[in-house]
Symmetry: C3
Subunit: 333 residues, 3 copies
């Protein structure tokens, strides 16, 4: 719960409204323009929802200057309503504070250090020499293996696996089923057989990182796999050994990154993108969905290699014609 004035101040926006001063309006939740109820605040950042302005029952709307006149309810005017939405939603939906509760079914090794403010939920296992920081939340069914460190205010939602000797920064959020620190895929051929290469490196996760459900991050072969501060990984992302992901890069679902690839800062990788190993991607690179990167990218920009669907027979004709380019060429030779 907050007043409209508090929210406007929080996002650096300006209140305006017809009639009485709306500053003291009480707002308890965010909502969409079409669904909002009294006491809720809505947001207009996508033009296609502008039609809902006139029917909204929101107590207030956050929008840009140019939409102010069209809105029949009090507004907060800002240049970036989407960012305001993120900030206001966060303000109104703070994660519950920890209370220092440890569930009796949690199995905590006596040689680990759990800060007295941390919450440890049911059926979680904390092994030897683990350090759990202040205000950390470890949800149910997690396993924190020997020697790992979880920084202050980090939250592991449930069933998260932190393998041995992994370091997690502060305010990092890890969703269920994520695995941090499994062995990298290191193999050497010995005739027809494979010899496993022990993975003796670790994983270092920075501050303010978010790691999606069932995402996997392998430990390094010798040196560490590194996820820098502010990196955001969606669900089912696969990060191989010795990868480094630069600050504030965001990777959408199902991205796969092969061993020793280095991703720059503020990169954005679309869903299903694949990055080959042992290459380097510059800062501020965007890769569109389902593209494959097999060589280093040295300049910021947007890169693609995905094909969009066509009706299946049309697509088969396209494929056939592309393959015929070969035979034409051969005939000419």
């Amino acid at each position: 719960m907050a007043t409209l004035e508090q929210l406007a101040k929080h996002v650096g926006g300006e209140i305006s409204g017809i009639g009485d001063d709306p500053s003291s309006l009480n707002i308890d939740q965010v909502a969409t323009l079409d669904d909002a109820q009294e006491g809720q605040i809505a947001f207009l950042f996508d033009r296609k929802y502008r039609k809902f302005l006139k029917i909204t029952r929101a107590s207030a709307v956050v929008l840009r200057e140019q939409d102010r006149e069209a809105c029949p309810v009090p507004v907060i005017v800002t240049n970036d309503p989407y960012l305001a939405y993120a900030k206001i939603a966060s303000f109104l939906n703070k994660p519950a504070e920890t209370s220092g509760s440890v569930h009796p079914s949690a199995v905590i090794h006596e040689d680990s250090k759990v800060d007295f403010t941390a919450d440890i939920a049911a059926n979680t296992v904390i092994e030897k020499d683990v350090v759990i920081g202040a205000n950390v939340l470890i949800g149910p069914g997690c396993v924190i293996a020997e020697g790992s460190v979880i920084g202050d205010y980090s939250r592991l939602v449930a069933n998260v696996n932190i393998c041995h000797h992994i370091s997690i920064g502060k305010r990092t959020l890890i969703h269920p089923g994520a695995v941090i620190g499994s062995d990298g895929f290191g193999l050497a051929r010995d005739g027809g057989n494979w010899v496993k290469i022990p993975q003796i490196g670790s994983v270092s996760i920075g501050d303010d990182v978010e790691i999606g459900a069932n995402t996997t991050i392998d430990r390094g072969a010798i040196k560490d796999t590194i996820i820098e501060n502010g990196v955001k990984l969606d669900n089912q992302v696969q990060v191989a050994h010795n990868v480094r992901i630069g600050e504030n890069s965001a990777l959408a679902g199902c991205v796969g990154i092969a061993g020793s690839a280095i991703i720059g800062k503020r990169c954005m990788l679309g869903g299903g993108v694949g990055i080959a190993g042992h290459l380097e991607i510059a800062d501020d690179v965007t890769i569109t969905g389902m593209s494959m990167v097999t060589k280093s990218i040295k300049e910021a920009g947007t890169y693609s290699s995905g094909w969009s669907v066509r009706e299946a027979r049309a697509w088969r004709r396209t494929v056939a014609r592309v393959h015929r380019l070969d035979s034409i060429k051969k005939a000419e030779e």
Copy 2:
């Protein structure tokens, strides 16, 4: 165990056989034509296995009219032997009934309601205000977080994660490692940093849904992510926030669907398909494997964008020729 007569009736097929009336034959399991033993029933729906008819040791075979004469053992004749296989296999392999047993190691919050007929296995955690319906099976190591509801006869095999305030319908089957209700990937840029958008929506899963191992379904940002009745999701499918999947659609392994995409009813998505966000796919659309959809599809039909492998040097030549189309064009300009 069932008689051949019971099975024929169950699938609406017609029994025939040489000599004695085979109706009272006892059948205890399904099998393949080549491996079947006495007491087992086999099925012929794929022409390439027709050669096994004459050597089969099955006690009976389900097949189409045109194959009846070629079969030396009693048969059930039906128009759709594959569907008959599904129905007979289900008839002979019913899931065990629940017995209302609650393992002493399960951690069940006192403010949750577990129907007295439900089974709760070892090391499962059920948080506050959860409702578990009649004849539900919650396997070992599951976490059902606060406020979630599991409908009658649903089964969570093991290590399933149901996050807070999720609704699961009746007779829904969820395989190990699935995560339902993790946060959507909602971020707003604030200069070089990301601000997380709290995901306050939920996930609503219908009746008769199947969710594969390690599949992830994110909760909605504001409104809910919706999986309608009869939807079947294979393993490692990723469903982002605010997606809606229509009734009886079936998604094969490794499909990824970005935020707010709407998939129609009775759609079929092949393995590894990627669907971009904020688009709509009509009913009865089939997308072949590893294709990418970036625009709405308004008509039923089959759509593709995948390339099949060629020998690597030939493929490299093809790629080079496609890229040369650019330079030819440029030279012409």
Copy 3:
């Protein structure tokens, strides 16, 4: 800890060094050339790191004959320094031996057989009629369902799910979140609805297999899914029902294999590769990353269908020109 002589013998290499005989040097760990400290051994197999030879502080370096002269510290000369790295790293980093410890929080059914040398960690669940072999390690949070068998010296790191009646060979290593034996995706259409086909087959995993984090392997519909000896699966691999993967094949992250596909021996599948169902791939086939296989491959060799990224506008032009091949052709017709 080992002497240089022991290590040289272990890899069949030859020691040489300037001055005193280095055979008795003590080595306790592997390291990279640039980071190595005293007591560590480094390896030169990639030409681009040759520059670090002259600055290395490693106590010894493993390298090829041609690099011997350039190295200022004692060396082991071998034809395959990468294989030597695997062998020496394994020699110096043996997994801890099991001690026969069973954590009191583990839930073990009285009708299961756990060898007295096996370790069973906290909050693991072992159901009825399970057999756990000698020196097996079952980490925390695992679920081994009814009737499954785990061979000697196998290790399940943590939160591994072995469904019912699955067979795992010897010395097999399974990483967190892997699911072995979930139901295959078997469905038959009945008008607009799906009828589930019970999956009554099993999964048979051989000896010396490695299975990555969050990898899923479905049980067979009637017959079994089979992973032969020495197969290596990286993270987030999806193996559908009735697949067979031949000896010593290695599959990189995010590979997906549809039902009843047969992969030969010693195959290598790059990251994100997709294999359609009901086809056969010969021995010694390599598929490069993100390629799709839709037909059987009958000859050993390397196959591709992936596209690498270009700058996005250039890529869009390429796509447009490929589609124009259709209209040109049509115009000609």
